[in-house]
């Protein structure tokens, strides 16, 4: 365990020194070294710009993630449990899964205007099919023995959902959450770039026009850090807690 941890840190250290070496060697504005990036990061934090734009993006991310997970899970459970409904919607699911994200974004902005709602809707529509597919897989694999037991002992709908169905779906929720956060993050920046005047996507666009690579990397660093912290502080503990019954 300890070895694994130290190996992980070692790999990061190797990466940073390689980067540092290259930056020194090239001496190019297009590849600032890690120290330079850290310095820009610090300045951007002090001026309050980075926290503001990061906060705006995170807020959008949380809202659209919550909506997409809720709707996606509900649809996924229904499709997984009901063959006819599934047969009816199956093709549509594949179609929505394959519509390019850019298309939904543009259409949303065209139809709803360059508004916050349009941005959120675009992200949600892109995310829902993924959640549906994952959760549907889980709902299909529900243990029949346990469902029969619940029926025989008259658990009723709510109790069956809480004690029999959801615990079985939990690993699928966590899976959908992990892949979902990564996916939404990538989509949301494009949404911001296309039609919002704040958020990290908007900022990155500005830096791109100025060829300010250091700032771009500083923003990337900030976001990666936030995602890692979420993994450590929220997802991992949640996962461990929900799996503690396993041998």
């Amino acid at each position: 365990m300890l070895r694994k941890q130290s190996l992980a840190w070692l790999s990061i250290a190797v990466f940073l020194s390689l980067w540092h070496g290259f930056a020194l060697y090239l001496e190019s504005r297009n590849l600032p070294g890690p120290l330079m990036v850290l310095q820009v990061f610090w300045e951007q934090c002090r001026s309050g710009e980075l926290p503001y734009h990061l906060g705006v993006t995170l807020l959008r991310l949380i809202v659209s993630f919550a909506i997409a997970m809720f709707i996606g899970c509900a649809i996924g459970i229904v499709l997984g449990r009901n063959r006819q409904v599934n047969a009816f919607f199956d093709n549509w699911l594949v179609i929505f899964l394959n519509i390019p994200a850019l298309v939904t974004m543009i259409l949303c902005y065209v139809w709803f205007g360059l508004t916050e709602v349009a941005a959120i809707v675009a992200v949600v529509i892109n995310k829902i099919p993924n959640v549906v597919v994952t959760v549907r897989e889980g709902a299909r694999a529900l243990n029949r023995d346990l469902l029969e037991m619940a029926r025989c002992y008259r658990f009723g709908k709510a109790k069956t959902l809480q004690h029999v169905v959801l615990p079985q779906l939990f690993p699928y929720f966590i899976g959908a959450t992990r892949s979902g956060l990564a996916l939404i993050w990538k989509i949301i920046l494009v949404v911001e770039l296309l039609g919002r005047s704040n958020g990290m996507g908007y900022q990155l666009h500005l830096f791109f026009q100025l060829f300010d690579v250091a700032s771009i990397l500083a923003y990337t660093f900030a976001f990666v850090a936030v995602m890692q912290i979420t993994e450590w502080l929220v997802l991992k503990p949640l996962d461990n807690r929900a799996q503690r019954w396993r041998r």
Binding site: L146, M149, C152, Y153, R154, H163, V164, P167, W245, R247
Partner: protein, 242 residues
Amino acid sequence: MIRIKVKSKLYPATEDALPRRVINDFRLALKDNEFVCLVGPSGCGKTTLLNLVAGLDDDFDGEIRFDEREENHKIGYVFQNPRLLPWRTVRENIELALNEPAPSGAIDNLLEVMQLADFQHVYPERLSLGMSRRVAIIRAFAINPDLLLMDEPFVSLDSATAQQVRDLLIGLWQQRPHTVLFVTHDLREAIALADRIVFLTSAPMQTLNEVVVPFSRNERQNQQLIEQFRHDLLQTDGKPVT
């Protein structure tokens, strides 16, 4: 009174199997508070029949009629496998089956008798199979069922424990009479427990014959009596004695 009438139960064809008729023209009437044992070869359709009676499977030709307490009869079912929720502790598993709050001591008592008191906060995957079975049995007892279905509940218990659980079952049943339908392969067990034993043919399942066990509950303590009765049953090749 529970009237079981199954004209036929088919398992539908699958890609690699033809449809199978598992039960053919089976009738059985359970009197109120009667203890009936089903004895039959493996694969003859006993579990299938219990599932029909429990209402878990309504895809059959026939009917299961409950008189009187029809509206709200509680069924306790000890399945052939334990079917505990792995993500709930032993105690939670039992409590979840109760749909009304039970007297607080009742579950403790059952846990105590089943030697599981120390394990009530353990998750089922950390129990042995025999222990899991005992939890499943407690769950079925705890709801105070009007009809108790038991599908070979004592396999994988050692004979001493099995005897203890049998005594507990009879004790509870005498305290609060209810109808019991009990599947077993063990003829001694059937004689020790049942008011009536129903012998079944192999699939498609039909009644081979029925034997009323003529002993009082006290007489059944006598191993020799049971042994003799069993001997007679085997001699007459399952034909009615008396």
